[in-house]
């Protein structure tokens, strides 16, 4: 794969990756801002407002038709938090030029459509989004917030984060609250949009079979000189002196248990990721083998790491009467890791698992983009080859030390209504 980086303006970069094996053209535009939770509602409304219509295709119907003409181009967006940075991603994925039935130049069309969406939105006048489009998106966002309850596992994690990250941006709902969304206007959302265009770090990624010589110029013309924010993703979350336990109830068949463990002090990213993998990240890990397989307490009990926050999250779906038993078993398995009461084999298995997964990078356009993006936003992010080396070199002693740093910060339980 050939990779070229072009600095197009202050805070605007294009990374172009040419990989002949792919049959698609993919362009992702990432915009990063330091978190301002009071703006989450406006920021959350923005992506759909930009994608569902624009000046050239001023209705959702026209936009949909345009995407259908482009062989069902897939245009979508997401917002997320990386540490204390807020990120918006807008991306387009469509077939490569070689598969266009009439020889159309799809790559340029993809870039132009993305830029139309980002730079030439559907406005009423100069400084406000179209009131009609705004109302539709506002209603949609309210429905999205209301329906967060539907997926019980992710709902429980969202609720748990209010306690886990209290006082930090991550404690806030990603799309704001219903009240905050209701308070927005086409003008206020336009104001945050303008601010993002002026200040956000903009990282653009292209992955496709063809060279993309024309793309730097297309994107260079699009962005004016600007003064941008710094990227800073690492923002460890401090462990509470005493674990905090929060219980809520709902009409559910299965209870949700979320436990957060935090590691204070300097920690190596690879050691934290490895700890989480050995603890509960794979079917050979301690939580799967013990809490699920040996104790038959649950269908899933797994851990994941939010490493910029030094936080390990465990989620488990369990029946009401076994919540306490599961909680104790999870803590017990962490003690196993901390006391080094595990076989060397577990570490070797996890190393193989990581290395195998790392070597899959580059086989999908999205993994190419994620890898290049991670390298750019995290100063300590090693490339794939270096990561393989770092994971391979980790010792049992390092795992024990890192595991010991993880302490219970908080427990969230979503119980059945009517049960104690």
């Amino acid at each position: 794969m050939e990779e070229n980086t072009h600095v197009l303006a202050e805070g605007v970069e294009l990374v172009s990756m040419t990989e002949p094996k792919f049959k698609t053209t993919n362009i992702s535009v990432m915009m990063l801002m330091p978190c301002e939770p009071e703006k989450f509602a406006a920021w959350g409304l923005l992506p759909n407002l930009l994608l569902n219509s624009c000046r050239k295709y001023p209705s959702m119907a026209k936009m949909t038709e345009r995407m259908q003409e482009l062989y069902g181009a897939y245009l979508d967006s997401s917002v997320s938090l990386i540490g204390d940075m807020w990120q918006m991603q807008i991306r387009i994925n469509m077939i490569g030029d070689a598969y266009a039935l009439a020889g159309e130049k799809l790559k340029e069309a993809a870039a132009e459509l993305l830029l139309e969406c980002i730079l030439h939105p559907n406005l009423d006048g100069e400084r406000a989004f179209s009131a009609e489009a705004f109302r539709m998106e506002q209603k949609e966002l309210l429905d999205v917030i209301e329906s967060e309850i539907n997926d019980k596992r992710s709902y429980a994690v969202k609720r748990a984060k209010r306690t886990i990250f209290r006082g930090e941006p991550n404690a806030n709902p990603l799309y704001g609250t219903k009240e905050e969304v209701l308070a927005l206007t086409p003008e206020t959302v336009y104001a945050v949009y303008e601010e993002i265009l002026q200040k956000a770090q903009i990282l653009i990624y292209y992955v496709g079979a063809e060279q993309a010589e024309e793309l730097p110029e297309i994107f260079r013309k699009a962005f004016l000189p600007r003064k941008t924010v710094e990227i800073c993703t690492n923002s460890p979350s401090k462990c509470k002196p005493e674990p905090e336990i929060v219980t809520e109830t709902m009409e559910v068949n299965q209870c949700q248990l979320v436990m957060a463990f935090k590691a204070d002090g300097m920690q190596s990213t690879e050691a934290m990721r490895m700890c989480s993998m050995m603890f509960g990240g794979a079917p050979f890990s301690l939580l799967f083998m013990n809490v699920r397989e040996k104790m038959s307490l649950c269908y899933y009990c797994s851990s994941s790491i939010v490493y910029e926050k030094h936080t390990m999250l465990v989620t488990c779906g369990v029946s009401q009467e076994n919540v306490e038993k599961a909680r104790q078993a999870i803590e017990e398995q962490l003690r196993v890791l901390q006391n080094g009461e595990f076989e060397e084999k577990l570490l070797a298995d996890a190393q193989r698992y990581f290395i195998n997964a790392l070597k899959l990078t580059g086989d999908t356009p999205s993994s190419c983009i994620v890898e290049a993006f991670e390298r750019r936003i995290r100063p300590d992010h090693a490339d794939v080859q270096e990561q393989i080396q770092l994971f391979s070199r980790l010792t049992k002693e390092e795992i024990i030390q890192t595991a010991k740093a993880f302490q219970l910060d908080s427990v969230y339980i979503l119980n059945q209504k009517g049960e104690s």
Binding site: E146, E293, D363
Partner: protein, 432 residues
């Protein structure tokens, strides 16, 4: 080199080919070599899912009827053998492994970037060597009970199964894939062995592999490890299923935000190529009538009848069942149904936009090409083709030949607004 019954199947449009080998053991093997990729992805599947509940083999007089959820239970238990579990074996190669059971199939899979051959040996060995004891069966009950509870808390799952229960009088597609907490209690080691020996016969199975692999090495491993199975001529029966739906609507309660709904049309099931073409026509018709650029979609959106969750669902078909539908979120799902029915009846009389149909055909072509980017999607495409009784790449070839006239005819002759189910999930106390 060994003489084999084999065929190279090519998609000129997608620029891809795969090898189909009818292995001497009875197994159908499909291999797509993708040397530019690092990933290798293997699926070992059997035509055994939740709908296969009544069967007999050569020489058996009576049809066996087994408890609901047993195919899925078997999938869980096959991961354990006498000495060690399959996951522990995979841990030695680094492969990422899993399995799934659906209505008409069970598949065991792994993905890796290295140690492909030893991982393939693990896959073939553990699936071919069952080991069940009452103790291990009992242990699994608790895990699967939690999986069932998890599904019951998933409103879209509940919405879908409620709809199936209303569409089908007797066909086992109306049963949950994992069964119920009561039904899985009836499962024992003996029953698992019986189902295993019935359905995990190589004549009923396929091995589909895509990615950075070598066909000759795969075939050598199959030659080494697979022992031929005698063809038992598996015979299955399904309860007689009327054309009409059992019930036209169902409303159920669960903790959800905006009420969820689906409107599903029960259609006459088909098989093989005919079903594949019907699925494509159904997708094209429903997208042409109800995608985001249509007048009806925009009108319903403006009137707050739907939100962006609205859209046509993928066709749902298999042995003896076929349905298509639309779904989304609405606070007035009965009004949405009225509008949908009226649009279908209008389109039956007047036709629909030919230009829009052609754009969607182009979109569908784009989606198929996009999926060929993925090693995983290619292996799944081959498995799906085997399970559906068609050749790999049939979908993209059939799409090229599809016409507006065929789509309109399909709409007129197959989609019946009298034969549909409205399924709704809403919060307790919400009046709809």
């Amino acid at each position: 080199m060994k003489q084999r019954e084999q065929e190279l199947i090519t998609s000129s449009r997608g620029g891809q080919s795969c090898l189909h080998v009818k292995h001497e053991t009875g197994l159908n093997i499909y291999i797509m070599e993708m040397p530019d990729f690092h990933t290798a992805y293997a699926l070992f599947g059997t035509k055994y899912g939740s709908v296969n509940t009544m069967f007999r083999l050569d020489g058996e007089k009576d049809f066996a009827k087994v408890p609901e959820g047993i195919a899925h239970f078997l999938e869980h238990k096959l991961f354990e053998n006498e000495d060690t579990g399959a996951f522990e074996q995979y841990a030695k190669t680094g492969a990422i492994a899993n399995a799934y059971t659906s209505f008409d199939r069970t598949a065991y899979l792994f993905m890796c970037s290295e140690n492909f051959n030893p991982s393939l040996e693990i896959l073939l060995n553990f699936v071919r060597h069952p080991y069940f004891t009452q103790e291990t069966v009992d242990k699994e009950q608790g895990i699967i009970a939690q999986e069932i509870q998890m599904n019951e808390d998933e409103p879209s799952w509940k919405l879908f199964f409620n709809s199936l229960k209303c569409m089908y009088h007797a066909h086992p597609v109306r049963i949950g894939i994992a069964g119920t907490i009561e039904s899985i209690r009836k499962i024992d080691a003996e029953l698992l062995y019986r189902c295993y020996h019935t359905f995990y016969n190589l004549h009923n199975m396929t091995l589909c592999i895509a990615g950075n692999v070598h066909a000759e090495e795969i075939l050598a491993i199959c030659d080494k490890l697979l022992v031929p199975d005698e063809n038992h001529h598996l015979e299955e029966i399904y309860p007689s299923e009327p054309y009409e739906v059992l019930q036209h609507e169902i409303f159920d309660v669960a903790p959800v935000g905006v009420p969820m709904f689906s409107i599903d049309f029960k259609l006459k099931p088909k098989s093989g190529e005919e079903q594949l073409k019907a699925n494509l026509l159904a997708e094209l018709v429903m997208d042409t009538l109800f995608s985001a650029n249509t007048e009806i979609y925009q009108r319903m959106l403006k009137e707050n009848l739907i939100n962006f969750e609205f859209g046509a669902d993928a066709p749902f078909s298999g042995n003896g069942y076929f349905s298509i539908g639309v779904g989304g979120e609405s606070r007035n799902p009965r009004e949405v149904r009225k509008r949908i029915f009226s649009e279908i009846e209008r389109a039956k009389q007047e036709g629909f936009s030919q230009e829009s149909f052609e754009r969607l055909r182009k979109s569908k072509y784009g989606a198929l090409i996009r999926s060929m980017n993925s090693v995983e999607a290619n292996a799944s495409m081959m498995l799906d083709a085997y399970m559906s009784g068609v050749k790999p790449f049939s979908k993209i070839s059939a799409l090229a030949e599809m016409t507006y006239e065929q789509a309109w005819q399909f709409l007129r002759e197959e989609i019946d607004t009298e034969n549909a189910v409205l399924s709704v999930i809403h919060a307790q106390g919400e009046i709809l």
